[in-house]
């Protein structure tokens, strides 16, 4: 953190609180466009509820389509937020401080978006409560053997913990906003900051609480995506039924999440003039981590092929042959190139310190990770055990509409967050100054 000594508490406060000034017309225009996108997605969903799931492109054998692809994609995105805010906090990697707030926010919003997709996916959304263990006269409970019930538990836990963690971290900053705010904003922030006065006692509780939350959130990073991977690994489908799935999914999730952090932070840094806070060094650190996760993901791809070959199972071997050479080979190669080859470019310092490269590669990884979920979810069942039943799937316009709606909703949340809450943790930035440097350095 070569630049941080030049910052003062006041500068940090000013830089961050400046971002909360009334937005320009351009901002509201973007918000309007995003709202329209959300409405379009909602309209598509309503249409699907009335017409039936056939409004999408799913069929037999590919009964899961973009809804579950997006579900896994967004859960994956969520992961690196917790990784950055919780795990790196526990490891005292100081470079995470400037980006932790945005990453944690991304987590909360991404989990919320992800949580929508299983609902959109359901054939009969109106009786979704059957999945909950509520008392009823039929003595019927959910099937706790089903990975989908694991999902319900895992995702709701994750959403709860990450939301609380996020909010806890926000409290001192909310108080800082309150102190500078006037009018209605003052009232709102007074309520939100829960009477924070900055007393020593509060700080003591706060730091303890934050630490415990970080410790609590840490296992969730591993568990949630492991559970999601069991949706697939616990079935018999060739291409899904594999023990590598849990670590493979966790690594993939972090990979995509880090890329999303870059995709969001780079414009943010530019727009809000955070260059001095979110320094190139921090971006570089993220890029280095991406190299690491990219290598794990690439290794997982290779191991899957090795296992298919080693099993000597005709079905397994054909599934993986077809994956690379069959109808969805383009999607497969997009996945391989974007996720495991392109990130290797970060080995070059010139590339990982160049903003356009960083942004471009991070977007490519996001695309690649979406296709990874496509290849796994669609590509496996499409070419299963019974050759007679093989079939292909293509998303319908309704599915694209809902996907667009989901992305719009995410960006809408994020943009609203940027203008209404401090997008960089002033507290943690000041801590860094106070400690006179980075623990990690």
């Amino acid at each position: 953190m070569s630049e941080s000594p030049q910052l003062t508490y006041g500068e940090i406060d000013r830089t961050v609180l400046d971002t909360l000034r009334p937005p320009t017309g351009g901002y509201w225009l973007v918000i309007m466009v995003l709202i329209l996108g959300v409405l379009l997605g909602a309209a598509c969903w309503v249409y699907q509820i009335f017409v039936g799931i056939g409004a999408g492109g799913q069929n037999i054998p590919v009964a899961w389509g973009t809804y579950l692809i997006n579900f896994v994609f967004w859960v994956g995105i969520a992961h690196s937020g917790t990784l950055i805010s919780a795990i790196l906090y526990l490891f005292r990697a100081g470079w995470r401080n400037p980006i932790a707030r945005a990453a944690e926010t991304m987590t909360v919003f991404a989990v919320s978006i992800a949580g929508l997709f299983p609902f959109i996916h359901l054939g009969r959304i109106w009786i979704v409560y059957y999945m909950l263990p509520y008392p009823n006269q039929r003595y019927l409970w959910p099937n706790f053997q089903s990975p989908l019930v694991f999902d319900v538990v895992a995702i709701s836990t994750y959403l709860t913990v990450s939301s609380l963690f996020w909010y806890t971290g926000l409290i001192p900053d909310l108080a800082a906003v309150r102190d500078k705010a006037t009018g209605v904003r003052k009232k709102i922030f007074t309520i939100l900051s829960l009477g924070w006065t900055g007393k020593h006692e509060q700080w003591r509780h706060y730091t303890r609480g934050y630490l415990f939350f970080a410790a609590l959130a840490t296992p969730l990073v591993v568990s949630v995506h492991s559970v999601v991977s069991w949706d697939f690994a616990l079935s018999v489908v060739p291409g899904w039924h594999s023990t590598i799935f849990a670590p493979y999914f966790v690594a993939g999730a972090i990979h995509s999440g880090l890329a999303m952090v870059l995709t969001l932070m780079i414009p943010l840094r530019k727009i809000f003039r955070y260059e001095r806070i979110v320094t190139m060094k921090i971006l570089e650190a993220v890029a280095k981590t991406i190299i690491f996760t990219g290598l794990i993901v690439g290794y997982a791809y290779a191991v899957e092929y090795f296992l298919a070959w080693y099993s000597h199972n005709a079905v397994e071997m054909e599934a993986f042959r077809w994956r690379a050479l069959g109808d969805y080979s383009l999607e497969f190669w997009i996945m391989v190139v974007c996720n495991s080859m392109v990130p290797l470019l970060f080995f070059f310092k010139r590339i990982r310190t160049s903003i356009p490269w960083l942004l471009g590669i991070s977007i490519l990884i996001n695309v690649g990770m979406w296709y990874e979920r496509f290849v796994i979810i669609v590509g496996s069942v499409a070419h299963g055990f019974i050759p007679h039943a093989w079939g292909l799937y293509r998303p319908s316009a309704i599915e694209f509409g809902i996907m667009l709606g989901a992305f719009s909703l995410f960006l809408l949340f994020f943009l609203l967050f940027l203008k209404h809450l401090p997008s960089i943790s002033m507290t943690e930035m000041k801590e860094t100054l106070d400690h006179g440097g980075d623990h990690g350095d």
Binding site: I53, P61, H121, L148, V236, F385
Partner: protein, 980 residues
């Protein structure tokens, strides 16, 4: 707001919210004000009748529930079908309940239809007839399909009463060549029945006896009696034809030959036979004559003419020579090419030479379809009409405007102003559109009638339900119109009684009632003596003037369809929806061509090609198959209507448009082939609505077969594993669980029964009757062409067809349905327990519990689960056919085969009422019930004496992908194949 107001508002708004949120708004149950005495709500009444979907005349039992017929099944007493039905028979229901059925008579006025009452329509008919009679003799004509003797007599008497000639009987498939050949060789102008079951070797020169030929359900049974495995033995069946057909796909070997060259092969066989001393018991003159016609056809010549390699011809001959009781059948229902008559004559001679007793050809029990007039008579009939020879034409269930080639003059004849055309059809088909008055008569399942599919059989028809449209019986219409108030009998029912009494078939009312109850009188006639040779003088000249095979030209064949027959099935949604077994294409009509033919023209499957013959042109999608000769292009007849209701109109293509209106001069029969044809690429292509993903098993051992010679040597059987390891047959019973080696969870304990099914793949002929029966019984939704292309067909039972990758014309059929696994992958993944393992081992799907995650389908290795992507439509009154015992599934719900759980429950109730256990064989799922060859067996595995239990001991028994240890309760018996 006080507390009371709040509670009131909350209560009312809560109630109104709850009331408006019902997913099924119509829940009204109506009861009859006065129920008939014999009607018990919830109990079915069964009426015996006769299927009239084709001229075979199978006996049916119609299941009537609360006043409407909801299912037809074969009549077990009936000698033709013995309780079985084909898919067309099953789909007869969709005729009565067809949404496009004409509900009231229509009169054409200035080109527009005006509804009239039945009384008015009959009055018009009577007036027109009287006017025609005043014009002179022979002014009233009638064209009818093949009908029963009584109705034919009545029609003849009516026409006689109108001073006119008897009706002309029109069947698009009239077997002219076969009749002519029989006439030339045996001196009998008719269609014998063939005792296929008594033969030990069968050759068919194209006869598609498993699909449409003469009496397909009967011959399917007899074929499997002969060709099915008996102990360690099995007879051989060879198919010689330029295209394979479903029947040929069931042969031990398909000898693919040039178009128009079958008779050379038959003559070559004759030559070899006579050279080796066969036929020496024949009269000298006959033998010499046969020798003379066959002697030019040496092996080399045959080979050259037919493109059949000499070694294959040799094999064909050797097996024929070795057979003790061979039976050789002629050409297909729609006949084949220009050599049709020659082939049939040569085939008759082959039977004569190789089986001098001719015991297998039974001219005593002839098929009723022989009464159809030859095509030459039908065309003359239209020529007469065209010349204005009549003023009134009656049409009974015929569609010549569709079934005759465009140059036949049907349209011109019917459009003549001086001719008043009355159609008795219930559907607006191409011919009915041209009529002046449509007087719909009741359909066979609503009618009194009598139809014996074979000589000696009296098979009765009675109304199986009340009339939906109030349409009268055609017999009554004729009686009233021709005889007026002075009619000899009150109505057609009385006429039938009188006729059958006259024929000495029944004696008295009581006998009549008993006959109706049984569905008819079923004494088949004893075969009278041996068949005599009566070679016509003309046979030599006929057989030696064969057409010359056209080198390098493509010949186009229009072949009958097992699904649509001559096209009359095309308005039944089930028949459109269930794919053709060989192509797995539904709703569409592709042209079948050999990969070489396609490669030479740069075409691929799905490309649209323009086919041009001398008589017409068609644009149709291409389907690639090795099941046709490289010089042939084959299209199924049946679709391509431009009328005939929403399911038929504008769907598929009608190949008859490419055919010649000319006739074969000797037999007076049509050509269902056209050659040479030109193929032109259009550059366009479509997606075929096929239900298969791959034709190949990819070495997965899904549909297994075993060589006959290896049957007794299990060590030679193909293993059940996937190459990784061999896996034993693991019955879905607790004793089959082995927690040391392969099971983690404890076994399911079953109460009293563990239902299971055995499917004998050696018996499955791929006819698809089971699939349609399942649609009918289980209210399975019809998805339609577009949805099938999307992969959303709903069939609970599919006939999968797999080609042998080494010999693609070798085909194995595998009926695939829910396997009711003991260790079901679907059950564990559902979050809400919608797939549920019953205490009798069934894998139940609880529809109202299902929330539609579709995880079960994803995890089902057999991919037998079907999802309700939409709310499927049963346009009224098709909904009246729905089985009230089976839930109609709504959108968002998964469904699948239930082993007909409603029938299992019914058996439970009966057994409980009678204080006993369910008997073995008491439960017949719909697929099993209708299977013409008896490929299915159903019962409880917990009963050590049950048929299923015995069959699973068979060495051929295996489970599809048993190595997954799902312990399926559907156990397959390997197909037994023979290499020649």
């Amino acid at each position: 707001m006080d507390r009371r107001t709040f509670l009131k508002i909350a209560g009312v708004s809560g109630l109104s919210f709850a009331a408006s949120c019902t997913s099924q708004p119509e829940k009204t149950l109506y009861s009859l004000v006065q129920a008939p005495d014999d009607m018990v709500t919830g109990k079915a009444t069964w009426y015996a009748s006769t299927c009239r979907e084709c001229p075979a005349g199978c006996g049916v039992l119609a299941k009537n529930r609360e006043g409407r017929t909801i299912k037809v099944e074969g009549n077990p007493l009936h000698p033709i079908n013995r309780g079985r039905l084909c898919m067309r028979g099953q789909a007869a229901l969709q005729g009565i309940y067809n949404p496009d059925r004409i509900k009231t008579p229509l009169l054409k006025e200035a080109g527009k239809w005006r509804p009239v009452t039945y009384a008015e329509a009959e009055a018009i008919l009577q007036a027109k007839a009287e006017a025609a009679v005043r014009n002179g003799k022979g002014r009233v004509r009638m064209l009818t399909e093949v009908v029963g003797e009584s109705l034919l007599n009545l029609a003849s008497q009516s026409l006689e009463n109108w001073d006119s000639k008897g009706p002309v009987i029109f069947e698009p498939f009239g077997y002219e060549a076969l009749k002519e050949a029989n006439s030339q060789v045996f001196g009998l102008d008719g269609l014998p029945s063939y005792k296929m079951d008594e033969a030990d070797f069968l050759i068919s020169f194209g006869a598609d006896f498993l699909e449409t030929w003469l009496s397909p359900v009967e011959y399917a049974r007899k074929f499997k009696d002969m060709h099915g495995l008996r102990g360690q033995n099995k007879s051989l069946y060879f198919h010689v034809s330029p295209y394979q057909s479903l029947t040929g796909a069931n042969a031990d070997f398909w000898f693919s030959c040039n178009p128009d060259s079958e008779h050379f092969i038959a003559l070559g066989l004759l030559r070899e036979g006579i050279r080796h001393g066969n036929g020496r018991f024949l009269p000298e003159k006959v033998l010499t004559a046969i020798d003379t016609v066959s002697s030019p056809y040496t092996r080399e010549k045959v080979s050259e003419l037919s493109s059949l390699p000499p070694e294959l011809f040799e094999k064909l001959y050797i097996h024929l020579q070795l057979a003790r009781k061979p039976l050789i059948l002629g050409t297909s229902t729609s006949a084949t090419g220009a050599n049709n008559l020659q082939t049939n004559i040569a085939v008759n001679l082959l039977n004569l030479v190789f089986d001098p007793d001719l015991e297998l050809i039974d001219f005593s029990n002839r098929h009723r379809v022989e009464t159809a007039d030859r095509r030459s008579t039908v065309l003359e009939f239209f020529t007469e009409l065209k010349s204005g020879a009549a003023n009134l034409l009656l049409l009974n269930n015929v569609n010549p405007a569709f079934a005759l080639p465009p140059g036949s003059g049907v349209r011109e004849a019917l459009e003549r102003d001086s001719l008043f055309v009355v159609s008795f059809s219930s559907f607006m088909d191409e011919t009915t559109e041209l009529a002046d008055l449509i007087l719909p008569v009741c359909l066979p399942l609503e009618a009194w009638d009598e139809y014996g599919g074979k000589a000696g059989i009296v098979s009765t028809l009675q109304p199986t339900m009340g009339s939906l449209t109030g349409a009268p019986n055609i017999g009554d219409v004729l009686l009233r119109a021709a005889f007026g108030p002075q009619r000899p009998v009150k109505n057609f029912q009385a006429y039938l009684f009188a006729q059958l009494t006259l024929r000495d078939a029944i004696r008295g009312k009581r006998d009549w009632l008993q006959t109706l109850q049984k569905g008819g009188l079923f004494q088949s006639r004893k075969q009278e003596g041996g068949l005599q040779v009566a070679l016509a003088d003309t046979f030599q000249s006929t057989i030696t003037t064969p057409p010359t095979p056209k080198e390098k030209h493509l010949v186009f064949f229009a072949v009958p369809s097992i699904r649509f027959f001559d096209g009359r099935g095309a308005n039944r949604p089930w028949l459109c929806e269930v794919p053709d077994t060989l192509t797995q294409v539904a709703w569409q009509t592709p042209v079948l061509m050999h990969p070489e033919t396609l490669a030479a023209r740069g075409l691929k499957q799905g490309d649209i090609v323009q086919i041009e013959s001398r008589w017409g042109q068609l644009q149709m999608p291409v389907y690639e198959t090795v099941g046709v000769h490289s010089k042939a292009a084959v299209v199924a007849i049946g679709q391509g209507h431009n009328a005939y209701g929403r399911y038929a109109s504008g769907r598929g293509l009608n190949p008859i448009g490419l055919l010649s209106p000319e006739l074969e001069p000797n037999s007076g029969g049509p050509f269902f082939a056209a050659g040479p044809i030109a193929l032109k690429k259009t550059g366009r292509s479509i997606k075929l609505a096929h239900t298969d993903g791959s034709r190949d098993q990819h070495g997965r051992k899904i549909a297994l077969s075993v060589q006959l010679k290896d049957l007794a040597h299990p060590e030679h059987h193909e293993g059940h594993g996937l190459g990784m390891w061999e896996f034993p047959l693991v019955l879905p019973l607790p004793e089959a669980y082995d927690r040391k080696t392969r099971d983690i969870y404890p076994p399911h304990q079953h109460e009293d029964y563990r239902w299971a099914m055995v499917v004998d793949m050696d018996k499955c002929i791929g006819c698809g009757a089971c699939s349609v029966a399942c649609y009918a019984e289980n209210n399975v939704g019809v998805a339609g062409e577009a949805r099938i292309i999307e992969g959303r067909e709903m069939a609970w039972l599919q006939i999968q067809r797999y080609e042998d990758p080494k010999q693609r014309e070798k085909i194995t059929f595998l009926p695939m349905l829910c396997q009711h696994c003991c260790n079901a992958p679907c059950e564990s993944v559902c979050p809400v327990y919608a797939p549920h393992h019953s205490k009798e081992g069934l894998n139940n799907q609880i529809y109202n519990r299902c929330i539609g995650t579709r995880f079960c389908s994803q995890d089902c290795p057999y991919k037998v689960r079907r999802f309700n992507w939409f709310v499927w439509q049963w346009p009224e009154p098709l909904n009246l056919q729905l089985n009230p015992d089976v839930t109609v599934r709504t959108k968002g719900v998964m469904e699948k085969c239930s082993f007909c759980i409603q029938r299992i429950k019914d058996a439970h109730n009966n057994a409980k009422n009678e204080g006993r256990k369910i008997l073995d064989g008491e439960i017949q799922p719909a697929c099993l019930q209708t299977c013409p060859t008896g490929a299915f067996t159903f019962g409880s595995l917990m009963d050590k004496e049950s048929e299923v239990r015995k069959k699973v001991e068979d060495q051929r028994a295996y489970q599809v992908m048993g190595y997954l240890n799902t312990k399926p309760a559907v156990i397959y018996l390997k197909k037994v194949v023979q290499d020649i």
